[in-house]
């Protein structure tokens, strides 16, 4: 019966079967609603092993919500999320996360190094303070994004791009296998854009999988290998060359013109 409910027009382009283990991310039948309005609708998606994946779609398409639902940060109406073949709650150690920069208060009384060290908290465990070894690891992560000189600076005194790099370093400090990043390129300067891109390529070369909400259609093909086109439901996904076509983009951003006027309220 279930195939009856598959959203029409959603099609999965064939992918090479992954030879190494279970998929880093496997989403089945995921639906999320805010106040009864669906934000994600029957999302089915399996991420390929390794590589840089862009999540692309118009504003309000549910891109951030997809990431948050995968991470268990927003309640699901239905569906399952598996990371490397296990429920996401069991695989926290394997997941790294870069939230949107606006999601925190940058006046918070911590230094850049303190924030990056938070990426180590999962490994440190309850009650124990941050040891020197973990601080070194955090400092190394800051070096990788070119921010070691700013380690002691209070985070509110950094520029927007520098703050973005601190968030990226915090995710690197997690030493994860699968990374979720929410618009890491949004509103950053050229130096930060280069630093973020270099980190993504390093992660790719090390065999990690990175799933990135991305807003800039101009750079998708240049920066990413795979793309997931979505607008509440999945429109298409696959390698960039075969998926980022005008026809599929049109369906992602445009949709069909309305054949009939839709009434906002119920008929009297």
């Amino acid at each position: 019966m279930q195939y009856l409910w598959r959203t029409p027009g959603s099609h999965t382009l064939p992918e090479e079967a992954s030879p190494i283990g279970p998929a880093p991310l496997s989403v089945r039948d995921l639906t999320v609603a805010y106040h009864r309005k669906p934000v994600l609708w029957n999302v089915d998606y399996t991420a390929p092993n390794g590589g840089l994946i862009a999540v692309v779609g118009p504003n309000g398409a549910g891109k951030s919500t997809l990431i948050k639902a995968c991470l268990g940060l927003v309640p699901r109406v239905s569906g399952t999320v598996e990371v490397f073949g296990q429920p996401v709650a069991k695989q926290r150690r394997l997941i790294g996360y870069v939230p949107q920069r606006e999601s925190v208060d940058w006046d918070f009384p911590v230094s850049a190094l303190d924030v990056v060290a938070m990426g180590r908290y999962g490994k440190i465990g309850w009650f124990r303070p941050v040891s020197r070894a973990h601080k070194e690891a955090a400092l190394h992560a800051l070096e990788r994004v070119g921010m070691a000189d700013f380690a002691r600076r209070q985070i509110g005194q950094l520029s927007g791009g520098q703050q973005q790099r601190v968030f990226l370093a915090r995710a690197l400090a997690q030493e994860a296998q699968l990374y979720f990043m929410d618009e890491p390129f949004a509103g950053v300067d050229a130096a930060t854009e280069r630093a973020v891109l270099q980190v993504l390529r390093d992660l790719d070369a090390a065999g990690r999988t990175v799933i990135c909400v991305h807003h800039d259609l101009q750079t998708v093909a240049e920066y990413f290998d795979h793309v997931l086109l979505m607008n509440t439901r999945v429109v298409a996904h696959g390698p960039v060359a075969r998926t980022l076509t005008p026809e599929l983009l049109g369906r992602t951003y445009g949709g069909q013109p309305l054949p009939l006027p839709v009434r906002e309220t119920a008929a009297p």
Binding site: R92, S103, D105, F108, P109, S111, G122, Q154, D189, A191
Partner: protein, 396 residues
């Protein structure tokens, strides 16, 4: 009077007074430590709803005690009632926010006033009954250190120390929770349970502070010390310790003052001491205080004005008014003309301006946020190679 004050402050005015002062100081210390994280988690006002919501519980517990024939004012029973209705108020706020589209501040306002109103009505009812002991209930509203018995003061001190120690133990976890709860949840930290622990600690501080500070003002012990400490530091560990110190100092001085002036409600005195420390911090703290920020801005504007005036003088435009006086005092100007020293300064300022201008045009992304760019000497901010590069491009 002064002799007595010194004796109380130094714990030499008899064992009872020493215990009360120490207990109140411990209460302030706990308020500062717990309050630091409440403030950073933006939960400070929730604890105000909690404290006001304790009143009906106190009244009902008093009635139950009277019905059971317990002596008029059984403190453990009253505090148990306070916890029960305080937590009920807290849950009501959360339930309203989750189930309706009310914002948190409206839910807090509604719950706070309704619970407090109910408590006042119950208290008035109790006044009309002839039970005995009801006079003591009023101390819960405004607080009274004198009402504190020795054993109670010791219990308050121990519980407060326990609350502060719990914060110290959970320091890393609470920092992660307050800064970025989403990220903490992704790492597997039980965010909801940590929030519960934080609210539990706030409840503990509120309830043990009821007698001393009173339920109207107890929230001040949680909010004012960290808010005052925030002006002094940008580091969370220092902030927590400073807030604890400010809270303890307020409790210590406030309890002493209220022992000297027994007619004043203790809670108000303690809060006024904390308020005075806040005022001093707000005005004079070197990092973020009003005076320091004003001085920094004033100095920046003055150096811009000075630079413009020097450039004008170099181009033959005269300067008058206070700025002329200022340049004269600096030794740059005499009889309306640049002195040799003034000429050197004017040329240096002009070079500095051009180099900054070039830098901003060529490398907009690299402008450092920590320097007063355009004014600070560029050689002290940028590396020498960069300055030489800019000189080649900007100077003829």
């Amino acid at each position: 009077m002064i002799d007595e004050a010194i004796r109380i402050l130094t714990f030499q005015a008899g064992f009872n007074s020493a215990v009360v002062v120490a207990g109140t100081a411990a209460l302030g210390l706990a308020g500062g430590t717990v309050g630091t994280f409440l403030l950073l988690r933006r939960r400070a006002l929730v604890s105000d709803a909690l404290s006001h919501a304790t009143l009906p519980g106190i009244a009902v517990a008093f009635l139950i005690g009277a019905a059971l024939g317990l002596p008029g004012r059984s403190l453990p029973l009253l505090l148990a009632g306070a916890v029960a209705s305080g937590v009920l108020g807290l849950l009501t706020v959360q339930w309203l926010v989750r189930q309706t589209r009310l914002t948190e501040d409206s839910a807090i306002g509604a719950v706070l006033s309704v619970f407090f109103g109910l408590g006042i009505v119950l208290l008035s009812l109790i006044q009309t009954l002839e039970l005995g002991g009801q006079a003591g209930l009023k101390t819960f509203i405004l607080g009274q250190t004198a009402a504190m018995a020795q054993g109670e003061a010791i219990a308050i001190g121990l519980l407060a120390a326990g609350a502060a120690a719990t914060v110290a133990l959970l320091f890393k976890e609470l920092r992660a929770l307050a800064f970025d709860p989403g990220f903490a949840a992704v790492q597997g930290w039980p965010v909801a349970r940590l929030d519960l622990a934080l609210m539990g600690l706030a409840t503990l501080v509120t309830v043990i502070g009821l007698q001393t500070v009173g339920l109207i003002l107890v929230v001040a012990l949680l909010i004012i010390p960290p808010a005052a400490a925030r002006f002094w530091t940008d580091r969370l560990s220092v902030l927590t310790i400073a807030a604890a110190a400010i809270g303890a100092l307020s409790g210590w001085l406030g309890a002493t003052l209220s022992a000297l002036l027994p007619k004043l409600p203790a809670g108000a005195v303690i809060v006024l001491v904390a308020g005075a420390i806040f005022l001093v911090s707000f005005l004079f703290a070197p990092a973020r205080g009003l005076l320091a920020v004003g001085l920094r801005n004033g100095r920046l504007r003055l150096s811009f004005a000075e630079r413009r005036a020097l450039a004008g003088l170099l181009a033959g435009r005269p300067v008058d008014g206070p700025l002329a006086w200022w340049l004269g005092a600096r030794g740059f100007l005499r009889d309306g003309r640049l002195t040799p020293r003034g000429e050197v300064a004017a040329k240096a300022a002009e070079r500095n301006r051009r180099l900054w201008d070039r830098f901003l045009a060529d490398y907009p992304a690299l402008v450092p946020a920590h320097a007063n760019w355009g004014v600070d000497p560029i050689d002290e901010v940028l590396p020498g190679d960069m300055v030489r590069l800019l000189e080649e491009r900007a100077l003829p």
